[in-house]
Subunit: 345 residues, 2 copies
């Protein structure tokens, strides 16, 4: 399925529905994270104890379980709650990509502690990533609807292409808004989309409804990643549990940079590009680059775009709202879209 389109002009501010407080959204998500968590433990079995150890290290390091929760929410919203064991598909897949990403990025920290590759070695985490990938598929073929596993193959193919795209665009200071969107769709949004889509499939939904849930997850994922990329320019390491302000150090060109570059005066733009180019050798010059990005409103513009996509996520589900009777799971999903915009870390 396609990457969301980028409108020609920056989005006008859009009011988001906020049917629930952030606190309520959090509580409802946590309530579903618990069965998901139990399923993650129960299914993480291998004939090779070392695999369980490495997998456990990455999986039980405090993730928010957003992907399994979305899967369960989507299925329950459609009246047929999925088995938590199948929710594990999405967390295993997410963990597999994190393991491989950390090798690709030479990451030292992940969620505030040494990355698995630091503790167990690149060799082990590549192979355990492959194992978790296969484990996701093993679980998915238990659902006797070929649409289910087909959605997963579309998702993982798209994700793998996206990881390669991101690698290619490392240090690509010319990357535009559309190219950036392609990267974040593949690295983040497509898995959230698949979680919602597959929740709907396993509830036996029509193709049209399945599509609406896919679109919701896709737009939510884009909003989520954009907020993450904005926070990278403002958050603190303490809040995040991972180093912040490092996207530029790693050559990751994200929307705050793109916005600043494209809206600065010619002199400022030239200065920003020069600093970014020098930054790989002299990281200290990036402090000035980041100041320029903030001064040009790169952070606010990125959050505005995130807001635009969150509104589209809500719009995808609105037709399913029954005016009379509120479906609590649909409300939670709508609430999540406003939550991602207002969250801090």
């Amino acid at each position: 399925m396609a990457t969301p389109e980028v409108p020609q002009h920056p989005p006008a501010p859009q009011e988001l529905l906020a049917p629930l407080s952030n606190q309520e959204v959090k509580e409802r998500v946590l309530a579903l994270a618990q069965p998901a968590d139990q399923a993650l433990t129960a299914n993480l079995t291998s004939h090779v104890p070392f695999i369980e150890e490495v997998s456990g290290y990455i999986i039980f390091s405090g993730g928010k379980r957003l992907r399994p929760v979305l899967f369960l929410l989507a299925s329950r919203a459609l009246g047929r709650m999925a088995e938590p064991r199948h929710a594990a598909i999405f967390e295993y897949l997410h963990a597999a990509t994190l393991l491989h990403d950390d090798v690709v990025d030479d990451a030292g920290l992940r969620r505030g502690r040494p990355a698995a590759r630091v503790k167990y070695g690149n060799d082990a985490v590549i192979l355990v990533g492959d194992f978790l990938f296969s484990k996701s598929y093993s679980l998915s073929v238990e659902v006797p609807d070929l649409r289910f596993v087909r959605a997963l193959t579309d998702c993982t193919t798209h994700m793998a292409e996206g990881q390669v795209l991101e690698l290619i665009h490392t240090d690509d200071l010319e990357l535009g808004h559309q190219g950036y969107l392609r990267v974040i769709v593949a690295k983040t949004a497509v898995l959230l989309a698949a979680a919602c889509q597959m929740g709907a499939i396993q509830a036996g939904a029509s193709d049209e409804t399945v599509r609406a849930f896919y679109d919701y997850g896709m737009e939510l994922g884009v909003a989520f990643q954009m907020v993450d990329d904005a926070l990278d320019y403002v958050g603190s390491e303490h809040e995040f549990g991972k180093p912040v302000g490092h996207d530029l150090e790693e050559g990751k060109i994200t929307l705050p940079f793109i916005h600043a570059r494209d809206h600065a005066s010619p002199e400022m733009r030239a200065r920003l590009l020069e600093l970014a180019r020098r930054g790989r050798q002299e990281p200290q010059v990036l402090t000035e680059a980041k100041e320029i990005i903030r001064a040009q409103g790169g952070v606010e513009a990125t959050v505005a775009w995130a807001n635009f996509h969150a509104a589209r996520a809500q719009a995808a589900l609105k037709p399913l709202l029954d005016g009379g009777q509120a479906n609590p799971d649909l409300l939670t999903m709508l609430g999540l879209a406003s939550y991602v915009i207002t969250r801090r870390a």
Copy 2:
């Protein structure tokens, strides 16, 4: 499914059926490798041209297409030739594991030229490996029989566990015959088994027949890998297109070593273990270790075991032979089992 059992005693010499000459086997395999090759090119499309380049580099570097050929042979032997596009599943998966293996092993050469990771970097080959893995799955869900994709998930999970096992047993000088078998089943045999099994599934075979084809592929794969491991102690780099005699350098404990260790006099055994231990720091001492292994008959014993498994491969298919009318594809499969024993490289 289970790893083949190891009999208590070394196998008695077993006569292999040789219904075809090696030359005939080769010709028949080549005839099927051609459509498989075309399918490999036709399906290797991505939105990201760089992915096609890296994938093409590993896939079109002169592999023998044994896995796709086995899939096509199995399906045609059962009267319903599979589409060559689905034969690509097995070569993509094989290529994905080679890409990841080369990173894990720090390999410099593959099939006589620089390994893909040397040319494109570890980052790229990890991610392109993930892409090829997903591509295999995408193709497999086109076959509208859930047994088909389920067989693939069993296979890849088993393979990933096996790669981790091999990593754990690196430098494990105590590894026994059964442990060695577990490793080679997972790293080689299980994919050959899946190719035969899935060929049978896609021909609509009964579970019993599917199982016979699985067993054939499993035993063939074990025989194939054992011969490879024996040749590592005798072949030349020229014959092989990859460095030989390097298993021990890399800490890979294979059957020739295990046999020599377990059949040598106590003094010789102690000497062999000492040399193997020192070998990681002082590779030159491994020349003597290899001489001991050869002198203890490690190579011949390994080939004898390979012969034993090749005979079991043939035994799995024999019940399917119709006494009167010879099925040319079954004969080719029987012939392949004797071919792997007598091949050189």
